[in-house]
């Protein structure tokens, strides 16, 4: 009755906080923390997908700079700032937990209790640091240097996973899901951090237009958008496959998801490529 998962100290570490919830406590004792992390990963992913739709719609305002500027003025208050900060929680959790899964599945990092701890601790540290940057609101960094560094780190992360994973007999799209995840981990955490280093970076129309006018930034952002929507689409189709048994319904939902994701990926990429100061 004493399985390896039970022998770990993860319960002791998290019990004080998380098991106050009856539901969490029930699943922690009957299925283990990995089960809860899996569900949290799914829920976080769904929140991110919904936000990505909203993000592309709001960014399409860049086609009409005056309207975009007025929209940014509207959200320039504590409430929306707080929402932006809260949104970083599912994003960074999903990214770090994805890294945990990749490390477990392909790099034999089997001390999962420690990994879960790291995911939670790093998520808290990231979100806390982001909050501090948002409150300070006066950090500056070289755009080219920042994105070049983030892009190189993302590329290395993706290549390391690619080299490990590609020769295996796993399904091609399944492999791409992991590889895109490895690319997005540094990319998405860097993106959120960059947008809040100072208020202008993510909200001032002129600053944004000057930044996206760079060919390098256009290329990086386009790759970012395409991989985000591929990753989101495959993730949604995975969830559909986990719950829908009816083959016809599954096919319909898969096609709808793929079409919607393709449309948003196209709209996002077109926006990045065509918008100029």
């Amino acid at each position: 009755m004493n399985t390896p998962a039970q022998r770990t100290s993860i319960e002791a570490f998290l019990a004080g906080v998380l098991t106050r919830s009856e539901k969490l406590s029930y699943y922690a004792s009957s299925r283990g923390w990995g089960f809860i992390m899996t569900w949290a990963h799914r829920v976080a992913g769904l929140i991110i997908v919904l936000y990505m739709f909203f993000h592309i719609v709001t960014l399409s305002g860049l086609y009409a700079p005056a309207k975009f500027a007025s929209n940014m003025d509207f959200i320039h208050n504590f409430f929306f700032g707080f929402l932006e900060w809260v949104l970083a929680i599912p994003v960074i959790f999903h990214a770090l937990n994805g890294a945990r899964l990749i490390l477990y599945e392909f790099f034999r990092v089997r001390d999962d209790a420690a990994m879960i701890r790291w995911v939670l601790v790093l998520s808290v540290l990231y979100v806390f640091s982001l909050g501090v940057f948002m409150l300070m609101g006066n950090q500056h960094v070289s755009v080219g240097f920042f994105w070049f560094t983030i892009f190189i780190v993302s590329l290395i992360s993706a290549v390391v996973v690619y080299r490990k994973l590609w020769p295996t007999r796993n399904n091609g799209f399944w492999k791409l899901q992991r590889i895109s995840g490895a690319f997005l981990l540094p990319m998405v955490s860097g993106h959120i951090l960059f947008m809040h280093l100072n208020y202008q970076a993510g909200h001032d129309i002129n600053t944004i237009l000057v930044r996206v006018s760079s060919i390098g930034i256009k290329a990086i952002d386009s790759a970012f958008v395409i991989l985000v929507f591929f990753h989101a689409g495959f993730g949604l189709n995975t969830i559909i496959g986990d719950f829908v048994e009816n083959t016809r319904l599954k096919t319909v939902l898969t096609v709808v998801t793929t079409v919607v994701m393709t449309i948003f990926a196209y709209a996002g990429t077109k926006l990045i490529i065509s918008v100029n100061p």
């Binding site: 029930y26 283990g32 599945e105 986990d242």
Partner: protein, 236 residues
Amino acid sequence: MSKEYDITLKISRYDPDTDQSWIQDYELRVGGILRFVDLFRKINDEQDATLAWSSSCEHAQCGTCGMRINGKPLLSCELLVEMAVEMFRTNVFKVEPLTIAPVIRDLVVDLERAYARVHAAKPYLISPASPNPQGDEFRIQPRVLDRYVEATRCINCFCCATACVTQKNYLGPNAMLVNIVRLMDPRETAKKERLDILYGEQGSPRCRTAQACSFVCPKEIDIAHFIALAKEGAIG
């Protein structure tokens, strides 16, 4: 004399004749070293002869008595009352059947239906290699056996499949293990057929690495580890 406990079993009942489901409470005063199967027998003898449950070996070797107790899939033949009180920190236990197959009556599920997944994974050597010409036996080197001997302990109790986060369109952890054991077995020559099952639509792509299988396994097999080896391409 072991300590006595006043416990309540909230047992999920199902009558197929009337298609009625309900929860029935049974109050018991029992010794701490009684197993849950002993409690069910006691209920049959003293309170309610109609309560249906299943067991066979009652030594954690056949997997017939698998069920959910306070949500956790486990073998009721190896769960002592005192262990359950300590594990769940309560004297009230919700007892439910496994979710892996339709319920036939009360705590008894249709294991034949559950076994369909195991059969899909072919729990036998599809194409055994020829034995050593000098003898009848096929010798397996200890270092080779060490790689997968843990997985051979599986008794197909379906606790892992019940705990698994993926309940549909998936062979399930124990059926995956059935395939992985034969893939790692040097006597099996039908590797391609086995790899097709392993990486097929109902195979490893459906595993979410939630590790609930390893968490609940009564035989303490780290099932998630073996499935991860398959994803890594380290098997076959």
